[in-house]
Amino acid sequence: MASLWLYLHFPALQLDSLFQSPHQPAPQKLSHPPLAAPEPSPPPLCLLDAGTFLIKQLNTAAQQQGIKAGMTLSMASALCHDLQVLPYQAEQELQYLQQIAALLYQISADIALDPPCALWLRIEPMLALYGGLAAYLGTLSQHITALQLQTRMAVAHSAAAAQLLCFSQPGFVSDDPALITAALHHCPLHHCQLQSTGSGQKILQQLQAMGINSLGQLLAIPRSELSRRFSAEVIIILDQLTGDRPTVSQFYQPPEQFCQSLELLYQLEHSQQLQAPLGYLLQLLQNYLQLRDQHCYQLQLRLELRDHPPLVLSLQSACGEYQQGRWLTLFQLKLQQLKLPAPLLKMQLSAGQTTARDGDNLLLFGARSQGATADAGTTVTKAEVLRLRSLLAAKLGAERVQQPQLFADHRPELANAAHGSDLITGVGALAANVQQHQSNHIPSDLQQLRQNRLYLPPQLQAANPSPPVTLPLRPGMLLARPVPLRMQLQLQPGLERIQTGWWDQNQVQRDYYIGRNNQGQWCWAFKNTSGWYLQGYFA
């Protein structure tokens, strides 16, 4: 089967994307009167190439005023006095083009970028899947119309020919070889790739002087004749047009990691205003993850500020999320505490680690039906618990959400130490990616002791409502560190000696007593060589 290429050109990509993305109220930003008309038509708008001072892209309103692409700014402003001018940014356009490629990658396998504003799609392998060109183009146009962009396309047997057809006869769509050849033969040469280079323009002039204006005339001349008269450039272009020489060397590959940035047209000063653009980025993330059936545990938001080092917010979710709404709630909590030190120019969202999603085992009829008591066999899904923990950690800070831990040590300070709950280790899904810094605030001896963690299966604990006999009596509330005892205690009979830690630097020898003070508090106190200390209360 002969190869078939589709060239997709977006003549006003950057301009259209301004109006299209949900976060950019472009008409308002351009001081357009908000209550002008019930259906306000956009003002004449154009993008100016800062290098050449020529009009690069323009909208229909500007076209109606007689402005054309390639005009100088002075001429354009003479034609239309209220013309709005914005700078043309090639990188932004390229980024948007990549987004389109990522979107179309779902329906077409081979996509090549033609920067700054066009795409090649090699469609002949896809036709068998879609069952014909018409069906394929139907699916394609569904996706493209959703983008609300000005689009031109053409189909031909080679990438270069499709491009040429798109410029000379936009909208030419056919897979009939005879029709394509006929259309190509009528193509005027000045739409050809030759136009773009200086030497190519000279060749074009030469050809025109010879009376050769269309591609058909050029193709009729034998190659040997052409190569004698003209440089190799012409031969290369002809080879590309006929498909003997490939035009496209590299096809689009979707990025391994999600990383999207958004340049704001206006500077944001309040963190609350961040929500709308952030929601847009999160929507992109959701699309990205949904297509891959993945979710991610950690996001990083990088905020680039004016005259200020960038701010990086990182956010974790214990259960792994992909939905925009859930991430947005977490971010809102984080943003409430954020005060922007300088106006915001640009934001970048990147997803660190994404993993395959295993189905959320949500209960069909709500977690707990009304009227059911706590011990009537209702269960709580793990995802719910993790979601709550993510929520709390996002608002309060991960170090303020603590998980009591048990360590196999007789020293009460070590046995009972609670530590900031590490959300990701809590899941156990990304154990390899544990952040080491979380453990920095825990004394080093404690870290060693972590390996000796007590393990008691939860069923065993839950099944024993009465305290097991073997466990010693320990207070419910402990002081962060023992303080010298400064009260009278009425001691209970019996003492407990704890003598341990001779292997590390924390050797203790203490005689523990239980006592009651004048206020009726039950104290846990110990005596060592240096005196009496209070350790905690049996609250």
């Binding site: 309060l396 998980q403 419910g476």
Partner: protein, 224 residues
């Protein structure tokens, strides 16, 4: 007559036969207390306890907390005045990995966290240490508790001379030799009763003075 019906309508007075049957109750695990509270703590609501720290007030709740942690629900402790002893939790039969301790920076955050935990539906009970509470905050917490079917226990320190809140149950806990003395300050659908002594000798024999005269070893601090 009309004044009475007005007062009735506004909920300031109620008569015994109007009172709907008490909702579900959670047994406290102490027979004396269950009897005092007509079955136990009212379920899925806010309960306040006025108590000094360290007299056994947490132990008073432990049986109830342990039971409500069943079916893999969380127990959340918010803003405890000291470090919570994991060994004690374990000894009480609580699953330590199903306990969260939150240390929010402000009272506002603590209330927010309590609301979230109650609402989430995955917490059996939440214990909050917070002295001040407004009526609006209490109402919010009550709604959350009802929605998430969880119980909130608030430890509020010594009772201040302030207006009693529209709360389901308010208890005053004071120290006693064999356990704690519990007085009901307010109970919805109940009436004033004499304080009872909750005897904890059976559960914690070492935390009860058996014979006050027998062992009176006094310890003085070094600085005194």
């Amino acid at each position: 007559m009309s004044t009475v019906s007005e007062l009735k309508a506004s909920g300031h007075i109620w008569s015994l036969h109007d009172q709907a049957s008490p909702g579900t109750v959670l047994s406290t695990g102490f027979a004396e207390l269950d009897q005092l509270l007509a079955g136990g703590f009212p379920a899925h609501t806010v309960i306040e306890l006025h108590s000094p720290i360290g007299i056994g007030e947490l132990r008073l709740l432990l049986p109830c907390l342990t039971r409500s942690q069943a079916s893999s629900q969380l127990l959340v402790l918010i803003n405890p005045p000291m470090l919570i002893g994991s060994q004690m939790l374990q000894a009480a039969g609580l699953a330590v990995e199903q306990v969260l301790v939150l240390q929010p920076a402000s009272a506002q955050d603590a209330l927010w966290a309590a609301e979230q935990c109650l609402k989430s539906g995955c917490c059996g009970s939440v214990v909050l240490w917070q002295s001040t509470l407004s009526i609006a905050q209490l109402k919010r917490l009550q709604l959350c508790a009802q929605h998430g079917m969880a119980s909130l226990f608030i430890f509020r320190g010594q009772q201040q001379s302030q207006l009693l809140l529209p709360i389901a149950l308010s208890l005053q806990v004071s120290p006693a030799l064999q356990g704690v003395k519990v007085q009901v300050l307010k109970r919805r659908g109940g009436w004033p009763m004499a304080p009872v002594l909750v005897d904890m000798t059976a559960r914690w024999p070492r935390l009860a003075v058996q014979n006050a005269a027998a062992n009176s070893a006094l310890v003085l601090s070094h600085s005194a």
